[in-house]
Homo-oligomer: 425 residues x 3
């Protein structure tokens, strides 16, 4: 597999941009991604568009924001960190007392160095996020607060890539572009997804068509479903929500609502091969766009493969969730590999059927190793066990479960059997 | 809920009456219950009536009974305790030796203060029950034994109340009136059932029709089924056998033969909310009228909620099973509450279906608490989890199992969703 | 049951014969078995016969074989132990160096007293098997090696007995005759099978037709299936592969591929009654003719009951697997009893249905013991529990699982119920 650039370099380009549900930052983000994925098609949906129970909000843009004390010293400046302003803050420009200021400040006493990440998409307010340490330095004074933001009718943007395969059945991948400067949740998702697109395009013989979307979380997936659900319910056979895929601390799996789709099986088999200690969450632990994709009546077969899950790692939703410290090239690449493996298993899955009755004679086909080391005995045993379930009823995941042979080994064994013309094609 | 009188006061009125499979005591018992439940309809079935494999026995009545020694001192008198005479004893009036007397005495060496409870419904004999301590005082003497009983053709009596609901589908409740002066097994059943009838009548909007019977155990339920089974197999959707519902020591559950009926699910969910340490028995531990209601070919969905189960508490089937010591107002009321809860869950059960695709926007409906305490986060999480299974396929018990949210909370959440017009009705 | 001779005496007669996939030893073996089972029909299949993916090999016979040193001293002589020659060795007669000899010797360093058992059915070679201790005594010398064997077109032989029953549905038993002088694996199988045939013939009222075969392993079962599979798939309802049934150390069970056939249930219930500590293997541990009988597309309901399983006991596939030390009369008889019990359960299995509604009145039928010891209470409880599942839906194995009453007790209880006319016949 070739990588035209490192995953981290794409990350560094995207990290500083101020993203939200809507706005210039999102369009800029999609422009940069389009340089990597020329097939990307960007869509605009106007404010006020109704999607199921939801309405696309006004577009939010922000030029600058700061707090100054009565001497003109800057306490906070949005230019230093775009987390400093509560997302979707209404504009403000006035002088207020220390007491009034306090009611517009958000900090985390238990993480005194961290600027928290806050939004208020659907309730008008304004506020600043500040580290607990900086907050403590504030004294009784008159403060100038300014947020030069605009909330006006505009557009929500998302992007889509369709990569055709041999069949119209689809694998769906979704990641989100609504988080400002944080790395694991969520710049890792778009970065890893760009890399996956590259790999999918390299699969010259791919069975499935791939539908990949870069959207704002929740309202974005709801809008996307409102436009594509009928088609998707008909075509999508598997898929993954791609989020929190950047650190090195662990691998995690969160099931679909049904819990037993091919996506779930592929995720578990892939992670089982990569790190058998991976964390298994339940549907009750969900918190990302699987909430929409697996909602009652939507019911798409979407599971989630992660590194450290949202809300489960200390830097989550703060300024501490940084590129380089939390998210690394190795962490991102690990997630790419896990997702590639899972998709590969889905591509390869079928119900193999042996074309001879009784056991085939392996020896005359050179499938029975001459050497009789313990290792080769185990290879033959695995092959015989796999063959014993090639009955046209068990798919690869069933065979994996029954034989305890890894999916990768099963695929390898089936390839040998196929080369020996032992399988119905 | 109003209680016109305490449960214990009804108990004290009924306790001294000598009940058996048949006889004046049973009719007197049903008369007293009818004062509480005017709708009660009492039925008479003649001796010799054939019910499936059984025949209604002769009616048994007893006026007096005693043992006197040769000096005329009373050793035992039926007036002091109606357990002193083996139920269905044939009449006797003669003088017998110490040795012959011994073969007609029953006592419990391991419980020396207790008069045991004995019956011989289907084999003619006579006998006295006596405490081991009193038995030891007997000396070699000639004894006068007298039992002034009558065994003659008569009637078996039972009573039935039908409380109509919005549908003809029925919930069936059964308790028995064949035990003489013992409290937990069995005066508690009729007392608790009278209270349940009061509560059911207070449910102005009840979905189900309620069929409640007061019967002698075994032969009574068999007779009742012989007359009503075709109707019941067609209409009864749930039900409980009500026995041993009076002490405070524990709650118990005994499943139906199938083990997975709605009655079983309701019993487990109700007891789980009241006391998660409740005892779970199996079908193999059965011993009451579920033996008939769940028999092959009958197969009604009847489960059992108890306090301390028959044959599992030390006072069982002895004179020690007393009102006030074993059975208390608190014990009875606990059972009433458990049964009310189970019936309430059955009344409320359905398969809710959310009427929007994707997640509903809770905020615009005031369903998203403004305060963000840990408690409110848990409330929102429970609501979202419940919604995620409102797919029209899962009933409330399924949702309870999947989400681990209590049935009571699920009903509360669905009520809020319904008020916000989020559910198909 | 009468035994015309001890199992061991048949064993001693068969043990010394040199058996292989084909050859005079096999025909001699079948001749001896035919003396015990006159109905035995012996079949011949010519070399070159194609059976599914396999071809019947040339027939192999051997008259003599030895290794001598340069002084004419015999190092090894086939007459002393027919394991000394690798099965299907090509003929050889020449003088070779110590070094060349080494490449044709097989021994087991970890079992220095044992002559290993080796074959090379499908690859031409010659070789000698020798104990590690004897091998160490060899010095640098010129050795005379001679194997007077013949590999030429001939026949593969197997034998079949059909014992008709009341129905055409069949129970299939298979054992193999291709192992030379070893006792547990495999002389025990044919010996035990001969005894089972005797027992089956003694079942005057047998429900099933029995198909019993004595075949060479693998190629024999494949040939047999190639000729009989269509009929067998239509008729065979249960069966056992009979191997390693001679020692006293344990009982073992290896499931069919499906794992839940009536044969599996019968094997587990039978072994559970005989020795609850019996070993349970999985389909992945298989290694005998169930590999063919349960192969995809063949799918016969064949399970395996063993004593110590092949490849799991120290003497396996060596000269140490002897009659008298490893295999004993008691070991063989234990396996006979286990298989008889399993077959008996299959013969008796059906779905009993009680012909009264509600519980039957046991007392009037003398089914309720008068004595009330703990033992009789348990007998009544077992009977009532069994009755409670006589609903025409549960078969005996289901009832066994639900009630935890042993199959033997269930059959006894049903016999009593049947005598009292309580079951639909």
């Amino acid at each position: 597999m070739k990588y035209h650039k490192s995953l981290m370099s794409l990350g560094h380009e995207l990290f500083p941009i101020c993203r939200s549900l809507t706005g210039d930052g999102n369009r800029k983000t999609l422009d940069i991604i389009k340089k990597e994925v020329p097939e990307l098609k960007v869509y605009s949906v106007p404010s006020g568009y109704k999607a199921f129970d939801w309405v696309v909000p006004r577009e939010w843009n922000i030029d600058s924001a700061y707090i100054k004390d009565s001497s003109g010293n800057e306490i906070i400046n949005f230019k230093c960190n775009n987390l400093h302003v509560v997302g979707y803050s209404t504009p403000v420009d006035k002088k207020i007392s220390y007491e009034e200021l306090q009611s517009h400040l958000f900090s985390l006493p238990e993480k005194p160095n961290a600027i928290p990440y806050m939004t208020s998409y659907y309730r008008d307010m304004w506020g600043f996020c500040i580290s607990e340490n900086d907050r403590k330095k504030l004294v009784d004074d008159v403060y100038e607060v300014k947020i030069d933001s605009k909330l006006q009718n505009g557009f929500l943007n998302y992007a889509e890539v369709i990569i055709p395969g041999k069949t119209e059945q689809e694998v769906f991948l979704s990641t989100y572009i609504c988080h400002p400067s944080m790395a694991n949740n969520e710049l890792s998702g778009p970065i890893v997804t760009v890399e996956l697109i590259e790999w999918i395009k390299s699969l010259t013989d791919r069975k499935y068509t791939y539908r990949v979307v870069f959207i704002p979380e929740t309202i974005g997936s709801i809008v996307y479903l409102s436009k594509n659900m009928t088609h998707m319910k008909h075509k999508v056979v598997a898929g993954f929500n791609i989020t929190c895929v950047g650190d090195e601390r662990c691998y995690s799996y969160l099931p679909s609502r049904c819990g037993n789709t091919i996506s779930d099986k592929a995720a578990k088999a892939a992670l089982g091969e990569i790190d058998s200690t991976y964390k298994k969450y339940t549907w009750l632990d969900r918190g990302s766009d699987e909430r929409q994709y697996c909602a009652p009546g939507v019911d798409l077969p979407i599971a989630t493969i992660m590194r450290s899950k949202y809300a489960e790692y200390p830097e989550y939703h703060t300024s501490l969730d940084k590129l380089g410290t939390v998210v690394t090239e190795k962490g991102l690449q690990g997630a790419v590999n896990a997702l590639i493996k899972a998709i590969y298993f889905i591509e390869e899955n079928h119900k193999p059927k042996i074309n001879v009755l009784c056991e085939p004679q392996l020896g005359k086909r050179g499938l029975y190793p001459n050497s009789s080391s313990l290792n080769t005995k185990s290879i033959v045993k695995d092959m015989m066990n796999v063959i014993s379930y090639c009955d046209g009823d068990h798919d690869l995941f069933d065979i994996h479960e029954k034989t305890e042979v890894s999916m990768s080994s099963i695929i390898d064994i089936l390839s040998k059997l196929s080369s020996s013309d032992l399988l119905y094609e």
